[in-house]
Amino acid sequence: MTDSAMTPPKQPMAALPGGEVTEGPMLAADGTPLKASLKRALRREKLRALLLISPLLIFILVAFVAPIADMLFRSVENQIVSETLPRTVAALEADEALPEEAPGEEVFHALYTDLVIAEEYKVHTRLGSRLNYEMTGLSSLFRGTGRDVGRFDTDIYTDQFVEAEPALEDPVNWSNWMSEEEIRDALPLTADAWDAWTTLTVEANEDDPLEEDVADFVYTALYRDLANGAAPANFPDVDVSSFETVSIRALFEDSDEDWLDPEVWQVIQTYSPAYTDGYFLNSVDMMNGPGGDAQWRPDDEQIYLKLFWRTMWMSMAITFSCILLGYPIAYLLSTLPLRSANVLMILVLLPFWTSLLVRTSAWKVLLQQQGVINDTLVWIGIVSDANRLALINNATGTIIAMTHILLPFMILPLYSVMKTIPPSYVRAAKSMGANDWTAFWRVWFPLSIPGIGAGSILAFILSIGYYITPEIVGGTEGVFISNRIAYHISSSLNWGLAAALGSILLALVLVLYWLYDRIVGIDNVKLGG
């Protein structure tokens, strides 16, 4: 880089008033170096170009990139456990009872606090459904105990505290104490519970905490703090050693004995981190076993690998039958005179103009056991009435209907590539002595491969993510992974799993695309021209 671009832009007196250039860098008419003004002009041009594409860019960012990013994020995101049960998660870390048995009183106390708060916010059921994906029964466990937790017998602490020290009944006093750093430090559980309670009262109940009765769980926390030996100054001195106590663990057991099942706690522990590989493991029929090791799910729960595999092979079968059916049509189209080709093209495009649902439903009518095709076959005598073919609600149905729907996506790129193959190539081949077949196979066909490539990518990628048609004609044997994704999005509401399945599908497509590029070469794909 020794040229004049590196010299400072302002060169005094390099240009004479008449615009004549003396020496030094080339100058534009106004005296600035030519390179600089060129760069400025280009920058303006680039800016203009950016401005022109910005609406599309924004649209793509909002409608495409963002949802994909969100999906990728959702597939690993798992903050619900640590957000809903923060105290429990923290306490579980210190607990050593797992995996042999359910954790001790500490953890249950934390769970009690968390659950009371979650119940007030009505979020415990959401957590229940989330954990239910990992272990069935957890949803009802959380819902049931959520109902009970407000009526736990922890009010005995409240009563005893108020009896021992009436000042403890007044929230105003509480408020004063809890604003003192020393007291807060000495009574961590209580401070935490108090904070949670005041926030809760304001946010969830829209009340003034100073006019409400302090909740039982605050007194329970206070009891635990004091029982742990805390003795803060400037705080009522209450001797708790003579208090009547209640085991919170036992209260939970009373509510539902599943709480003492170590497996339940293992699930909570496994899914307490903010990010999880659980959805992905689930997507490939695995799960986090005890101790956090990935392991296969029981045979009767394995479905996704099978579905992925089925989606792949059926998409390939569909793509292949599209090539088989589309190639001759495209060939004919490209050799016909323009006018007849246009008429035929309309026939090819016709499916585009009819509703997808109508078309798919039409296949239902045609392919049924009592449908047109079976009736015709029986009438001709190819199949007997007793052995009518099962053409729908299975893989066959999906392949037939999908081939029909995706055929135009194969024909159009094929046609537009074939259209560009000059007839003189085949003529040249024939003039050199090649018969029709050789001329086709050695010359025409290789030149049409980019069209096959483009059509295959289109058809394959479209079919891999297709949803409506398999749903309608696929029965159970002919549905794709996308139907499962749709199910998780709209019925089971397990969006994390849906996102993980979607991410895997996306990755699969990318891998296949990469493979395709390695094998066929992506520059061998032409959509036309």
Binding site: P422, S424, Y425, R427, A428, A429, K430, S431, M432, G433, A434, N435, D436, T438, A439, R442, V443, P446, L447
Partner: protein
């Protein structure tokens, strides 16, 4: 190889007609025969049916009527790949997915030729067009002229006796065209192949061919060697189409002693050679080449008829002078004179008289 002498017709069109749509004849009654080893060029305006003729010969179009014979045998029902005719296309038609070597191997492979023989022939054909080093290139990596050479080599590599070329040089620039013209004729003569060549370009036709067939409106207007075509056009289309030409219109007044007297529409009388006129009173169009127009009347026969002319424009062209004259009511009459010391340099507005030898002025169809 072939039986019979070389004067026997090698390619023959007999009363061949062709219609694409069943309404218009694109080729009307084509009769043509050419001996082995001849370089024949089809020349004509766009749409005159040249390509159609070539395609019928190659077998890609079928004649609606008539017979085409190759080496004495009718080939009407022989499919193109069995005709053994080499072909060079205007867009070269090199297979883009094959290398140059594979392109050349193609006709040999379909003939099931052994590998070593194939390699030998390919090397020879490539050397022939001076492209020996390009065997492993793809056609897209070659320039237009190089592609054209490869197309030529490919059409020749399987040693056909007849090669058809449809405007093979149409896409090249003038200089390249001229050098390739020379190479093609030289090769054709050296290999002794028969060539049917189609072009728009009359210079190309005149310089390359043994004979030229001038096409118009689906018919051969004249089939003759280049010099005869230029000097003795048989009708006014050919006279107009080939080279530069002055035309005057009039009526035959007298035919006598092999010469005719034509009274022009303006009343003047000139001498002409009756070519397409038979009787007195017939309308005719006379054609005179610019270089045959004479302003120095002393060089003419003393009794020759002359015409008054007014100089419109004088163009100095180095070796020649080009003078545009107003003659017999037309101001596009061109006279071309050699730049010689005794040749006057005329001024616009100057009035002169011009004339010509009667045999240089051809009275053609109107």
């Amino acid at each position: 190889m072939a039986q019979g002498s070389s004067t026997d017709a090698f390619v023959e069109f007999e009363r061949v007609q062709k219609s694409y749509d069943g309404e218009n004849l694109v080729v009307k009654d084509l009769n043509l025969s050419l001996p082995k080893g001849e370089f024949l060029t089809m020349l004509g305006p766009s749409g005159s049916g040249k390509t159609t003729c070539l395609m019928m010969l190659a077998g890609f179009e079928t004649a609606t009527h008539g017979e085409i014979r190759l080496d004495g045998k009718s080939i009407n029902n022989i499919p193109p790949h069995k005709r053994g005719i080499g072909m060079v296309f205007q867009n070269y038609a090199l297979f883009p997915h094959m290398t140059v070597g594979e392109n050349l191997a193609f006709p040999l492979e379909v003939r099931k030729m052994g590998r070593s023989e194939r390699e030998q022939k390919i090397a020879r054909a490539l050397d022939m067009v001076q492209m020996g080093d390009f065997k492993n290139r793809r056609p897209t990596q070659l320039s237009g002229g190089q592609q054209q050479r490869i197309a030529l080599a490919r059409a020749l590599v399987f040693e056909p006796e007849l090669v058809l070329m449809d405007e093979p040089l149409g896409a090249l620039d003038k200089q390249l065209r001229e050098s390739l013209q020379f190479e093609i004729t030289e090769l054709a003569h050296r290999l002794g192949i028969t060539v049917v060549y189609v072009t728009h370009d009359q210079t190309e036709a005149l310089t390359m061919s043994d004979r030229v067939a001038v096409f118009d409106d689906g018919r051969i207007q004249q089939l003759a060697p280049p010099d005869e075509l230029y000097e003795k056009p048989q009708n006014s289309f050919v006279a107009q189409f080939i080279g530069e030409n002055n035309t005057l219109e009039g009526v035959v007044e007298k035919i006598e002693g092999g010469f005719a007297l034509v009274r022009l529409d303006g009343g003047e009388v000139i001498d002409a050679l009756p070519v397409n006129v038979q009787e007195v009173g017939q309308r005719t169009r006379v054609s005179i080449r610019p270089e045959r127009v004479e302003s120095n009347l002393e060089r003419l026969h003393p009794e020759a008829h002359t015409l008054p002319a007014v100089v419109q424009e004088f163009i100095y062209m180095g070796d020649t002078f080009r003078t545009r004259l107003k003659v017999a009511g037309r101001d596009d009459f061109i006279m071309k004179t050699r730049n010689a010391p005794d040749q006057p340099r005329l001024k616009p507005g100057q009035e002169i008289r011009i004339g010509w030898l009667a045999e240089d002025c051809r009275a053609l169809d109107a």
